[in-house]
Amino acid sequence: MTQAVTDAAAAANGNGTAIVELDNIRKYFPITRGVLLRRLVGEVKAVDGVSFQIREGETYSLVGESGCGKTTTARMVLQVETPTEGVMRFNGKDASRFTGPERREYRASVQAVFQDPWSSLNPRMRVGSIILEPLLTNHPMGKNEARENLETLLNDVGLRQAQGEYYPHEFSGGQRQRIAIARALSLRPKLIVLDEPVSALDVSIRAQIMNLLRQLQDQYGVSYLLIAHNLATVRYMSHQVGVMYLGRMVEQAPTRELFANPSHPYTKALIAASLPSHPDIQREEMVISGEVPSPLNPPSGCHFHPRCPMVMERCSVDDPELRQLSPVHEVACHLF
């Protein structure tokens, strides 16, 4: 229901305001040789010109296989990595020109939940302190106020009050992920980066966490940047999807549009390779030979051309630009 409404909003092009906007972002990692005489021998183009917007209260998903640059992109949004080129804007302001207070505000407004809830929580801290730590760092407050905040947060993520006194090892994976979510929410952020938030969890727990995340999005009006490799998760969680391959965006569209009308051969291949939900579902056979090439030495022209079943002559020469199929649907392929 909400999905239909936001899709319509997206179709009307940008009624929701963009919280974070990435404009032609690039991240190159240098490769050096030698100890004393360091010399540059090459670059890994981890992210190579990616643009997208995350709108208020929406979920933007990045999908792709390992090495496609989705995690590096997320790290740039978190300002853990600085882009080599390109501009990232937060509420319209260029993030590279932030003043000190602006940077602090940004860091408080953008939080993260990681894949592995076993390594992202400090085993020596009580859950209550873990959840309140970001809040107390940013807004010093009295004991009573802190306790009230903790109660609300624990309640919102479905944990009992008493559990604030426990240590992380006393919880199961799903509950730990709830703790990580409560910590991310404590500062009432505008955006939460979710890096594979359910892939380390058991099947029956995944649905709990996905439903919780969707419910919290409605309640807090927070936006998500979801990094995932499972298309079913992406379809359930997101409003907008960007498909990445070897550092480039190959297709971008609202979720419904993307699944109804996948256009890039790579997107089609990903959908064909995704596992069926019923034994009677027969997918279009789409054999993608070979593996993802090394980003150290990506193929010329369209990076996907050596594996593409629809490859043409110009694909190995020309870089395809992102082109609009419709006002909301962009694809980078010479077929269009």
Binding site: L231, R235, S277, I281
Partner: protein, 337 residues
């Protein structure tokens, strides 16, 4: 596909694998029954701690020692002979030759200091009569090309770290195929692979199965793999088989509340889902199982009897068995409520 007339190649009867620890007995596998026919693919689905991996280790005779023990009365019949009565020497003849296993992480199942060719030859040397080194090398390269490793001649001298995850898993596949096994156990074999690579690997396994007629057991947590690959499915929960049926029957007509709930809680690539059903709560601790049904606490249909007594395995259709009180004849009317 199996026909009723053929003998099962593998039969697991009342398998109980317990871990005797200082704090108590952990019932990792607690009374598992299933049959596997030649050429058939059986999926064993369950969450972590459901006992699916321990079932496969029990079949291979690799239960962690000394805490783990397969209890008396358990039977694992391979071609009619009980594997649990075999000596270690006899088991070595079966393991890796007649029954093989592919594990989740190819980086840990391959030895990093030997070339992949070496590791394939090592297995061939155990199994083959022809021990001349030239023919061993020829056979190894043949195996590598059988699992579709491009340029097997030059890949033969690669170390595992020089290969990608998908390629490494193919090498593990080649090693498993070296003994021309009758039963292949794939324990989360494609979980660590990327989507398009997983797709290729599953297609490869199907092809190898068609060529050799081996039976495959897929240990997985993913119903998608079951839907794509399996003929028959066993759903495990807390060390027991909750439900076992042919794949279409299970998807169209799930009888155990756990199976039903699991299927409704998986998001779908093929259609929009408005709201996912989610099973509240956690699976029970295996060292302190309740006397009744282990799913009772999370079950939407629970009634008194479920807490008191473990439910019987009831036939719910053709080759379809579910372990649930709702299906027991004396409770047929309970469901009408």
């Amino acid at each position: 596909m199996a026909t009723a007339a053929t003998q099962p190649i593998l039969e697991v009867k009342d398998l109980r694998t317990y871990f005797h620890t200082r704090t108590g007995v952990v019932k990792a596998v607690d009374g598992v029954n299933f049959e596997l026919f030649p050429g058939e693919t059986l999926g064993v689905v369950g969450e972590s701690g459901s006992g699916k991996s321990m079932t496969s280790l029990s079949i291979m005779g690799l239960v962690p020692q000394p805490a783990g023990r397969i209890e008396d009365g358990s039977q694992i019949l391979y071609k009619g002979e009980n594997l649990l009565e075999k000596s270690p020497a006899e088991m070595r003849q079966i393991r890796g030759k007649e029954i093989c296993m592919i594990l989740q992480d190819p980086m840990t199942s391959l030895n990093p200091v030997y070339t992949v060719g070496n590791q394939v030859i090592e297995t061939l040397r155990q199994n083959d009569d022809d021990q001349r080194s030239t023919s061993l090398k020829e056979r190894a390269i043949e195996l590598l090309s059988k699992v579709k490793i491009p340029a097997p001649d030059s890949r033969f001298t690669n170390f595992p770290h020089q290969m990608s995850g998908g390629m490494r898993q193919r090498v593990v596949g080649a090693i498993a195929m070296a003994g021309a096994p009758n039963v292949l156990i794939a324990d989360e074999a494609t979980t660590s692979l990327d989507a398009t690579i997983q797709y290729q690997y599953l297609a490869l396994l199907k092809e190898l199965q068609q060529d050799t007629g081996m039976a495959i057991i897929f240990i997985t947590h993913d119903f998608g793999i079951v839907a794509k690959m399996c003929d028959r499915v066993a759903v495990m929960y807390a060390g027991r088989v909750a439900e076992i049926a042919d794949v279409r029957e299970l998807f169209n007509n799930p009888q155990h509340p756990y199976t039903e709930a699991l299927m409704r809680s998986v998001p779908n690539v093929d259609e929009d889902v408005d709201f996912l059903y989610s099973i509240e709560g956690q699976p029970p601790a295996l060292d302190n199982l309740p006397p009744g049904c282990s799913f009772a606490d999370r079950c939407p249909y629970v009634f008194d009897r479920c807490y008191d007594e473990f439910p019987p395995a009831v036939a719910a259709g053709d080759r379809h068995i579910a372990t649930c009180w709702r299906l027991a004849p004396e409770f047929a009317n309970q469901e009408a409520r």
